[in-house]
Structures are given as structure tokens and as C-alpha cells.
């Protein structure tokens, strides 16, 4: 008789060795991006994934359907820049129809959002996070190497006004030497537009491998800068959340800090990542990834694929070790993994 308890074999959950259950999928639909943010991509010709290695719509739907059957409940569509994938709304519509998927969210740089938000909302996207590191046009151009801030602002406004989009948040990467000067303007913008803004500590995930610990402007340092202008009150942290939220004492909304480096939140991580080329990652910083595209294209059935996924999740590492001596960043950059 099989020694595995029945529940562990049949329960529709993916559990790792520390008891964490995977329910949230970060789905990278392309590694291509139309910006060249200095902390992410080089400005010279980027070596994107070979085209035939990227999952097509059918393959993506098949894998997400499988993950949903194993307990994944929310999907955040990301990239690269997800809107650089042609026909994204058609794919989203199919993802929305998958049994078990309760919520579809999108993380985008906003450049193409005004054009596509209506189709995406109709297809099933209900929450959108827009990456925005500066609201000053020249500094945005300097950071992203593209003069596209006006389009991003149009995109944010279009998303905010669309009745199908329940929530729009802003994400700003916190960079020492840069974000000290952007933070108050970003907060003022977010407050004026009634948007939750989260600052994300810059992580060692740049394509060039140039990240240094001293590049990080910590959540605590930023909080102090913001609190001098707008007093803040802490809020309870939601389970599995990446962000620590605080509210403005004057009632002007909330601001969040994603302290991936200084205060990691691995203990209740519920995330899995599927890269655009069909590799399952259980941690942003994992050195290994599990190939799902290979078995999928070789004709593996769902039971076989589910076994591969269960084994990968069971072996999920405890957490990243950015602070440990000898830390090595993952071989792939954030643009290729999916944010």
C-alpha cells in the first residue's frame, strides 16, 4: 500500500516542506520590454528568449489550468512588459475562464495601458499595478531610457477611470541616490489620484549583475523621509502580502513598502512563477527552475505534469539569502523571470 496519506495525494493544494501553500501565480507572458530601466536591462541589443521557446496561448492555458487544479487561485500577469505580447487580452480571456482562478491581476509599465485597458478589463483583469519610478519627465527618461512618462500617466488615468478595474496601485523601485528625490513627488501624485503607492527595495536581479547592497534604499529609510512630510500610522500586515502598509494620519490613503531585501517576507510566501518559456520557479532567487515546457511538448499527460509541479513545490527553498556571504543572484534577470 502507498505510504502517502490519502489527503496529501488528492488534496488540491501545493504544499512545500515548510508547510506553505502555493496559491498565487506570477505568470510572465513575455520577456520583451519596451523600456530599458537602468536597474533592469542594458540599452544595447537585448538577447530576448528564442521565439520557439516561448509558450503559446494554448500551452499557457494548459499549464495554468493544471496549476489551478492544484490549488492556484490568483494569477498576476507580468513580463517583461506583458502588453508587449500581441493578443494579450485574448489570452487573459481564456485564463479567466479557467475553473478555480478567482482573480486576474496585471503588472505593467503602463506605456500601452491606455490603448488596451478596456479590452483587458473586458477579458477579466480586475486589478492593475503600474510601475512608476518618477513623475518627473526628464528623470523618468533618465531612469527608463525612454521619454514615455506622458503615456504612462495616460495609462494610469485610463485604468483608474475604467469601471471594470477595481484597483490600481503604483509600484516604485527604491534606489539609493534616486528615490530619496522622487519619493515625496510620487507620494503627492499617488495621494492626489487616490492610488496606493508601494516602494520596492531594488533586488539583485538586473541583467548586468551590477547590483550592490549599497544600492538599496531601505523601506525604513524611505518611511522616515515620507513621515517627516506626512505622518504615518502602521496597518496590520495581511497574510502572504509582500507589502507592509501604513496609512497617512491625515486620511490621505495608504503607502506600502516591499522590503524584499531588508525585511524578507519568505515565511508565508504563497507564490509560484511561470516564466515565458515555461519554467516553474518557486522563488525569485532560486538557482534551479523546473522545466514544464519540455514535458508538455513531449506529450506528458496532466498526471505526469502535476507530479513534476508537486515535486518542485515540495522542494521550495526556505527563502532568499541576499544577506548571506557568498550570495549569488539567479542566472536569469528579473525581465526574464517575471516580476
Amino acid at each position: 500500500m502507498d505510504a502517502t496519506p490519502t489527503a496529501a495525494r488528492t488534496a488540491p493544494v501545493l504544499t512545500d516542506g515548510y508547510g506553505r501553500v502555493a496559491r498565487d501565480l506570477r505568470l510572465s507572458v513575455t520577456d520583451v520590454c519596451n523600456l530599458r530601466c537602468r536597474y533592469c536591462l542594458p540599452d544595447e541589443r537585448v538577447a530576448w528568449l528564442p521565439r520557439d521557446e516561448r509558450l503559446d496561448d494554448d500551452e499557457t492555458v494548459r499549464l495554468v489550468t493544471l496549476l489551478a487544479a492544484l490549488g492556484v487561485r490568483t494569477v498576476r500577469v507580468t513580463g517583461g512588459e506583458p502588453l508587449a505580447r500581441p493578443g494579450l487580452a485574448r489570452l487573459v480571456e481564456r485564463l479567466a475562464a479557467i475553473e478555480g482562478i478567482d482573480e486576474l491581476a496585471l503588472t505593467t509599465n503602463g506605456v500601452l495601458l491606455a490603448r488596451h485597458v478596456a479590452a483587458l478589463a473586458d477579458a477579466g483583469i480586475s486589478r492593475i499595478n503600474v510601475s512608476l519610478d518618477s513623475v518627473d519627465r526628464e528623470r523618468f527618461d533618465a531612469l527608463t531610457r525612454r521619454d514615455l512618462l506622458p503615456r504612462v500617466l495616460e495609462g494610469i488615468e485610463a485604468a483608474r477611470r475604467h469601471p471594470g478595474i477595481r484597483q490600481v496601485k503604483l509600484n516604485a523601485v527604491a534606489l539609493r541616490g534616486v528615490t530619496e528625490h522622487e519619493a515625496l513627488d510620487l507620494v503627492a501624485f499617488a495621494r492626489a489620484h487616490d492610488l496606493q503607492l508601494r516602494f520596492i527595495e531594488v533586488m539583485p536581479l538586473d541583467a548586468a549583475g551590477n547590483w550592490k547592497p549599497t544600492d538599496v534604499l531601505t523601506a525604513e529609510q524611505l518611511r522616515a523621509i515620507i513621515a517627516r512630510r506626512w505622518p504615518l500610522e502602521p496597518l496590520e500586515r495581511e497574510p502572504s502580502s509582500t507589502a507592509r502598509l501604513l496609512r497617512f494620519a491625515d486620511g490621505g490613503g495608504e503607502v506600502g513598502f516591499i522590503a524584499s531585501v531588508s525585511e524578507p517576507f519568505c515565511a508565508d510566501c504563497d507564490r509560484l512563477r511561470l516564466t515565458a518559456d515555461g519554467q516553474l520557479r518557486t522563488c525569485l532567487f532560486a538557482h534551479g527552475e523546473t522545466d514544464l515546457r519540455g514535458p508538455l511538448r513531449a506529450g506528458a499527460d496532466d498526471a505526469a505534469l502535476a507530479r513534476v509541479v508537486r515535486e518542485a513545490v515540495a522542494a521550495k527553498q526556505w527563502g532568499h539569502e541576499i544577506h548571506r556571504p557568498g550570495f549569488r543572484p539567479p542566472a536569469r534577470s528579473m525581465s526574464a523571470i517575471g516580476g
Binding site: V32, N34, V46, V111, R146, L148
Partner: protein, 85 residues
């Protein structure tokens, strides 16, 4: 640096590129006048921001960075520019 749409667009006109162009510099789009009559789509060299998204989106590999256009397709550099002249 601009990108250039070349021969294999003719008869294809997939137009995925117009969907992903961040600066709307590829025309005519399927909802614009002249799309049906156009032999192919063209990139406006004055507006292109060199992001590479169109080239990656093209199902027939018609799009090249100006400095990568194959020798036998060099005439398309001028053809794209002429569309906007």
C-alpha cells in the same frame, strides 16, 4: 536608430506590431484608412524609439533594426521613410 519593415510583411500584414508599438509609429493600422490598400505596414523613422518590441512580435520576421537590415532588403529603409515623407 529606427526599425524597418521589409518584404515579408507584403501579403501578411499581421499588424501585431501596431498592437505593441509604444509610440504608435507603425501605420496604417487595421482600423485606419488605407490599410486594405497598403502593400505592407511602415515604421515612421522620426518617431521610432528603438524598443525592439515590434520585431519580436512579427510572426514573419519582417522587422529589423536599421543596422541589421539584410543586404537584399536595404531598399526598405527608404520605403518606410518615404511613407511618412
Amino acid at each position: 536608430m529606427t526599425y524597418v519593415i521589409t518584404e515579408s510583411c507584403i501579403g501578411t500584414k499581421d499588424a501585431s506590431c501596431t498592437e505593441v508599438c509604444p509610440v504608435d509609429c507603425i501605420h496604417p493600422t487595421p482600423d485606419e484608412d488605407g490599410y486594405d490598400q497598403a502593400d505592407q505596414l511602415y515604421i515612421d523613422p522620426e518617431e521610432c524609439i528603438d524598443c525592439d518590441a515590434c520585431a519580436e512580435s512579427c510572426p514573419v520576421d519582417a522587422i529589423f533594426s536599421e543596422d541589421q537590415v539584410p543586404d537584399d532588403l536595404q531598399s526598405y529603409i527608404q520605403k518606410n521613410a518615404a511613407h511618412y515623407a
